[in-house]
Amino acid sequence: MSSTQIILSAETLNIQSCISWIMSPESGGIDVFIGTVRNATKGKTVLKLDFEAYEPMAISEMQKIAKQAFAQWPVQKVLIHHRTGELQIGEVPVIIAVSAAHRDAAFDACRYIIDTLKQTVPIWKKEAFEDGDVWVAAHP
């Protein structure tokens, strides 16, 4: 489906190429969410993150989310790019981009996509601290 682009990649994500792909003459608004690696969690210095994915299922769950966004809002294109592997502070693990005729649909769908991705897509991140590594959300 040319209106959806989903990529799971071990290479650096390219923000400009995502924006180029999502732009079209029919669109009146584009909403882009860029996730970046933050240097601290709960006041503790983070050195880097490591992302692991169950790749075939991660792709199929991201496809489901995109499909649901099309079902729920009048959006034109949906792009979801997610990284795997080791990321340094400031690097980009995720880019969501949505285009629509009007901004409300683009904003709402983009928010839905990132929120749902964080709940359902089988991707895991490990935070590296000075005193060891922790799989995020694994333990209560």
Partner: protein, 80 residues
Amino acid sequence: MKINVLAFGVTKEIFGSGLVSLELTNDATIYNLKYALEQQYPRLKQLASYMVAVNNEYALPGDTIHERDEIAIIPPVSGG
């Protein structure tokens, strides 16, 4: 029947491997699988939660497992 179970993230560390094999009865359910795994790897019970995926779809506790299914343990996800 013998089944293979894929593991990721923290569960890969708990299992000590990304793939473990397990012997289950032929009509085993997800619930039976979780019970068997927890006997063998008690640290699973310390997780906030975990799901099981069968053939790339989240499964329910009562779902039956078949010999050639692709089974994966899904600890709490944290993408994005």
